[in-house]
Symmetry: D2
Subunit: 255 residues, 4 copies
Amino acid sequence: DDGWTVAGRRFTSRLIVGTGKYKSFEQNRAAVEASGAEIVTVAVRRVNVMDPKQPMLTDYIDPKRYTYLPNTAGCYTAEDAIRTLRLAREAGGWSLVKLEVLGEQKTLYPDMVETLRATDVLVKDGFDVMVYCSDDPIMARRLEDAGACAIMPLGAPIGSGLGLQNPVTIRLIVEQAKVPVLVDAGVGTASDAAVAMELGCDGVLMNTAIAEAKDPVAMARAMKLGVEAGRLAYQAGRMPKRRYADPSSPLAGLI
Amino acid sequence: DDGWTVAGRRFTSRLIVGTGKYKSFEQNRAAVEASGAEIVTVAVRRVNVMDPKQPMLTDYIDPKRYTYLPNTAGCYTAEDAIRTLRLAREAGGWSLVKLEVLGEQKTLYPDMVETLRATDVLVKDGFDVMVYCSDDPIMARRLEDAGACAIMPLGAPIGSGLGLQNPVTIRLIVEQAKVPVLVDAGVGTASDAAVAMELGCDGVLMNTAIAEAKDPVAMARAMKLGVEAGRLAYQAGRMPKRRYADPSSPLAGLI
Amino acid sequence: DDGWTVAGRRFTSRLIVGTGKYKSFEQNRAAVEASGAEIVTVAVRRVNVMDPKQPMLTDYIDPKRYTYLPNTAGCYTAEDAIRTLRLAREAGGWSLVKLEVLGEQKTLYPDMVETLRATDVLVKDGFDVMVYCSDDPIMARRLEDAGACAIMPLGAPIGSGLGLQNPVTIRLIVEQAKVPVLVDAGVGTASDAAVAMELGCDGVLMNTAIAEAKDPVAMARAMKLGVEAGRLAYQAGRMPKRRYADPSSPLAGLI
Amino acid sequence: DDGWTVAGRRFTSRLIVGTGKYKSFEQNRAAVEASGAEIVTVAVRRVNVMDPKQPMLTDYIDPKRYTYLPNTAGCYTAEDAIRTLRLAREAGGWSLVKLEVLGEQKTLYPDMVETLRATDVLVKDGFDVMVYCSDDPIMARRLEDAGACAIMPLGAPIGSGLGLQNPVTIRLIVEQAKVPVLVDAGVGTASDAAVAMELGCDGVLMNTAIAEAKDPVAMARAMKLGVEAGRLAYQAGRMPKRRYADPSSPLAGLI
């Protein structure tokens, strides 16, 4: 596996990790290192990356070594998200960004109308926009048509750890996409990450599954291996499933 | 992870691989190497490990480097299996063995009555017996009481690639066992191997999933990573699953 | 169970059936009767309900006995759908309608941008609009805010028979909705219909699962019973699931 | 559906219900009636069917109207079970019985060695023995060879309500059996019962799912409909599942 490309940038690691919910910047740093990630996503509204008087994430996770991917966590309208990313660009020069426009606090499910509108504006504004979205294949195509540089459907609600709920829609999105597809949200354990990759996704983004594991650093390494395992299995081409059903049996096709 | 012990022998790799269904000994060798396995299982009745005039597996997979685990594939009675393993011990000195007594050709499901009887005889005969078995927790305990040094429940029918069908029974077996538990049979892809390990199993044995992948060597490496990912995730302690159900809602607990 | 209400109309049956893919109007009639449905949905563009010179569905399925629910199957833009329903209203006086605006032929997945736009226009135009949609809870709420009188998320792609793929999103839609929620599309067999109802849905709409069963009339009756079984089970309040995990065990919560 | 036959007796209902865990005999009676069951199973050791000074089940559930099926719940050895059923035959004349020999209290999983031994003795002793068993197809065949008149594999642990865990093994048992197969244990809600029947089982036995529902009588009726729905769907012949995978796509067969 020689890696993947988004917005003209080449990466080897297919795991993107977050920077929220950790006990300390130190723990966050150790988890990022164990994960092998080359990209870390940062909630512009929550993580201090600008005020040098306060402890700064950048002191722990070196922005020269890791690609910072600013995200719009906590934004519930296109305007909020656009404003947040413009501030980030002014402050840090970031143009590769992750857009998320949420529909409600309870589930953190994306609001696809606002998301599509924000994508449109941001792309025209020169951003490279990776987009957190529902697992709706038609919406995914609209995002791609609007210029999104990566499609990031949720596998399950953010922070739920339920694992990929709907492989059918993820597969449909992967089959049609001409930009990278990354499962974003819903992974709970290493096998979930492997499943996402076995469906043909280009990568996985996660935060809670690592940060809220009993041992985040060990789980970060587990996720690294899970993503690599799934990718390799996808490339290797799995054996067919066999059900031993006699085709002439009335039971054939029942399971 | 510092490895696991079976019958007093220490191993680091938790993946045991087979030596059937490969296109050539050469491909088998490459796959074993990529898998990182330290134990290879060999069907005494099918693989030439004794006749030096024919091509021999041992020329490709060095028995000094790998632990050969003779198995009784193709045996349908306790007597057949016992005879086969006694021959193997006489010929090669092997005492750590894998017992499988099959119930029928169509599904290769184990015959637990014969399996239990053979375990009893072989243990008294001085063998260290790892036992392929159904996923019945009470039968697993009987095997352990009879002196089996490892319990190896099927995840799904041999060669089906369906993945682990019943996590409930595997978990019950793991919870009660005082000897290693390895899922044997049913794995189809890397995430299946990770799932088995995340349930707390000590290892996984597989053959078809690697040998019948489009690229067996790549899949062998995927399985190595899948097993390691699952083990690490198990040790790391996964985040709890969350369903966002309001406890006062009539829907709480429905899914 | 005393029934449900949509757009001020009271129904007892919670199963809505289609009128496509049958071998004959006669078979369709027999299946509708066996299903116990009170509402039949009719693709305005495909089924002859207006030209008295051709065989007419209304000769077989009496519009006085059954509520005809015109749908916009085959429409790929809001304009197409709106035009189709206006024609239907002019011709047959129907104002309770089912809107579907499809995103592509291959999967028949809904185009939610066009669907939302069409809903808006049709509601303002005085229609009572039941809406086929994705299983996106935020989009479902937008449809409801736009005046949809029923939300009809797909359980799986139309005609796939895969069964309900994502119970999490369906539950979220049911929990928040103030109008009826019906699973539309994806049901393959009777247990699938029961599952939808057990999640708290108000009803189920299906066509292929009945029309393409080996015996459509028997399957229609099976679906009637499946819907009733699921509804009753939902109302009865199921027992909790139990996993026998010792809470102090490291395995608790793993499955 | 014209019913099924066990040990020469013809029944119309395919649902067998229990008589444990109810709040009162009265509630039990109402639930049995709602279930439409013709057979009720009774734990000989727990339910008073012999001491006329105590309240008696037979005062509520008429043994002339319902077939009493004595079971050996609470027996952990073949001897215990055999003794229990001999007492029941002496006292009540029952010869159609349900054998269960449990392996442990925690999971109530069957002990198949003891079960097989007890079956052998009881059949020779003239009983018609319906047997609760694991979902091991080879053990199921051994029971049939020993003369069991019905095979009753568990769907999940008794009282767990988890639903049918392993459709593969249940299907294998159904495919090979020449006597009726009934899923016994594990059903939690109506769709679970439908799933068992859709796999081709002849019937379902349950107790906790009804007795511990919030409204047992309503759930009993739900289960009646669920069993009927599943049976009808099985007979009707479901539509094939479709995945829309382009056969030439590298993703075909991945899900």
